[in-house]
Amino acid sequence: MSVWMWILTILIVILAGGWMFRKVGQITSGNTPYFRDMPYGVAVGYVAAALTLLFVITTYIKALSAEPGAEANKYFFFKLAIHFLLISAVAAWVFRWLGRQIGTAGTRKLFRQMPLTASFGILVIILYALTAIFAGAIAPYGQEEILGNANVVPGGDPNIGGDPKYPLGTDQIGRDILSRLIFGAQNTVGIAFATTCLAFFIGASLGFLAATLGGWLDQLLSRAVDALMAIPALIFALLLMTIAAVWANKFGIPLTLFMVVIIAVIDATRVFRLARAVGTSIVVMDYIEAAKLRGEGLTYLIFREILPNATAPLLAEFGLRFCFVFLTIASLSFLGVGIQPPLADWGTMVRDLGQFINFAQFAPQVALTPLLAASAIALLTVAVNFVVDWMLHRSSGLKE
């Protein structure tokens, strides 16, 4: 196995390089404390990082200078990834800089403390929201419009079977892929957002109710949630979708509606757990006692006393829950039981176009489309996670 030999060689180079790096540093710097006290692990880390950087830069130079053809195809995706990383870093930086100049004192302060990842996340979320809202105006064609030529190659180059009218080509029955990607933002993100809101409405209201009232209601709801949570979410969703498919056929209700309800109920169990835990710790506070003594009703207690004090953890949970719901819906669609055609949806697009990945060596543009749909999903969840991570970090004042 030559691969194993390669790995072994690289390991030895890194390990020996770390020792040499420290030694050379000690000698040339006249044994300054920095090099004298440097742990071996840190030295190895520097060498490994330098080697990785070197590898990336040399590959990128090779990619830039590669002749068009098989050689360039090989580096096509690498080059694309590097360009994307650079552009997104610059965009995030500019966005943060703008945020520091424009806006109220509060938002400017927020942007001053923001790491680059969080500003990238916020920028991406704003872009997705704009795309979803104005999808109809941005997209060149309708999502269900069949435009004639099927399987037009992306890139718009007529020599290899492209068409400048369809920059990302058309799919197997001749719908414009770019338009479907844009409408996918509306459908996939919109449905996921609605599902998360429904899950939060069910989970949080039941959770707060259980926390305030306690007693048998609390026991009943908690045990029911325990039982539902013992079944893995995706598996349970698939089982219920099988059954829902029969119902949907029988009554002519769209399957997507069933999916929203099913996923909302499954995710509401997780929200319930959190809402109940946060609620029970708030309910024992003195101000709740005072409100109860004043004779306030249940609605007042939940909406005016508990909810405002539980916003921070619930908001962070909303972000994470949205990611889970979004990924579950994408996975279900990818497996073929989620959002139903003819609605454009990213998960379904990945499944339909997935096999084109195998042509990446000969025509990288063709392999690009399924990856674009998949990375549209990944980009949004990564962005939301970056923002939530920053929010949690800020609110917890994490140790160390």
């Binding site: 691969v3 742990p39 692990g41 840190v42 880390g45 990082a49 195809n73 090989k74 995706f77 990842t117 325990d226 039982a227 539902l228 013992a230 079944i231 893995p232 995706l234 598996i235 349970f236 698939l238 089982l239 219920l240 979708m241 099988t242 059954i243 498919a245 029969v246 119902w247 056929n249 029988k250 990611c323 990924l327 994408a330 996975s331 990818f334 497996l335 073929g336 039981v337 998960g347 990945v350 997935g354 990945i357 195998n358 990446a360 060596q361 392999a367 399924p370 990856l371 998949a374 990375s375 999903i377 990944a378 969840t381 990564v382 939301v384 996670n385 991570d389 994490l398 140790k399 160390e400």
Partner: protein, 334 residues
């Protein structure tokens, strides 16, 4: 020691009850089908004879409670019933032989072994890597290394499995043909053969990417949580090296949460294989499950669901018990 045995016994009993309740939920869910599933599956083209034949074949003409108890009793003895496809075949051809489908158990058993192999291989790669990386990021927290790892793990946690799978296929199978992109494992390959290993490596790497991030972040958080404790301060003031402080003093106390997150991720591996198996066409139980969902083969769906839930509950239970056992205050009560 008697105290700990009691706690463990309680947890086991709780696990059994949960499994029982889950089996009821699954059964009730399946019985929510309008009419019964003989009609539901045959749909418009059903003749009364074929519906009756399937009903008899699957025993649908008896009350639900009896059917539930019978299903549960058979499942405990390892008989998970007849797949719909088999029932359809024998309803039309009049005989049981020659369809090549067999019982649900015969369908599931070899695939279950494949899935366990895949999950086991991923765990064998992921657990050592994630714990090492977790310790390293805790050791060099807030350094450039830590930040880079944070970005990397956040991205891989939040990407859908099929995205990671396609990226790996693109770079490791298509552009640089190192590994095969199709995991056509078959029964002839022995459990330890290198061919099976190589063919399973790409799906295993995908799953590794998915679970490593989570385990690593939890390991890091568990260790960093302890670093503010007085005894760590003491160890540091003694002049111990940071590595030694973490490995000898912080790690043993962080073991309970780490074991917990490892077991939870193994539970995730058993169920998270569904999407990965479909991408790589790996003949595991997840793929069987998805295929059965698509053709609405209810007995198989029911059985797969039960197996997944059982594995999930079992691993959660293990996580619970392991974290009890790893707590010395519970092991040696005063």
């Amino acid at each position: 020691m008697a105290g700990i045995l009691k706690i463990v016994a309680q947890r086991l009993a709780l696990g059994l009850i949960t499994l029982f309740v889950v089996s009821i939920i699954i059964f009730v869910a399946v019985n929510l089908l309008p009419g019964d599933f003989a009609e539901a599956i045959l749909g418009q083209g059903a003749t009364p004879e074929s519906v009756a034949a399937i009903r008899e074949e699957l025993g649908l003409d008896r009350p639900p409670v009896v059917r539930y108890l019978e299903w549960l009793g058979n499942a405990v003895r390892g008989d998970l019933g007849t797949p719909m496809s088999q029932a359809l075949f024998s309803a039309y051809s009049g005989s049981n032989a020659g369809s090549g489908i067999g019982t649900v158990m015969e369908q599931i058993a070899p695939r279950f072994r494949n899935t366990v192999y895949l999950a086991g291989l991923s765990a064998a790669i992921a657990v050592p890597i994630s714990i090492t990386l977790g310790i390293l990021t805790a050791l060099y927290r807030n350094s450039a290394f830590d930040r880079a790892m944070n970005i990397f793990t956040l991205s891989s946690i939040s990407s859908p499995e099929f995205f990671l799978a396609y990226i790996l296929i693109l770079f490791l199978a298509v552009l640089n043909p190192i590994l095969p992109s199709l995991s056509n494992v078959n029964a002839e390959m022995s459990f330890w053969s290198s061919e099976r290993f190589v063919k399973t490596l790409l799906p295993a790497l995908t799953l590794t990417l998915v679970v490593t991030a989570h385990m690593m972040r939890m390991t890091r958080a568990a260790i960093i949580n302890l670093l503010a404790s007085p005894y760590i301060e003491m160890a540091r003031l003694k002049g111990m090296s940071p590595m030694r402080v973490i490995v000898k003093h912080a790690l043993p106390n962080a073991l309970a949460p780490i074991i917990n997150v490892v077991a939870l991720n193994l539970a995730y591996l058993i169920t998270g294989v569904v999407v990965v198996e479909v991408v790589f066409v790996y003949p595991g139980i997840g793929q069987l499950f998805v295929d059965s969902v698509k053709i609405r083969d209810i007995p198989v769906v029911q059985a797969c669901c039960l197996i997944f839930a059982a594995a999930y509950i079992l691993l959660n239970l293990t996580a619970d018990i392991m974290s009890i056992i790893s707590n010395p205050r519970l092991r040696h009560p005063k």
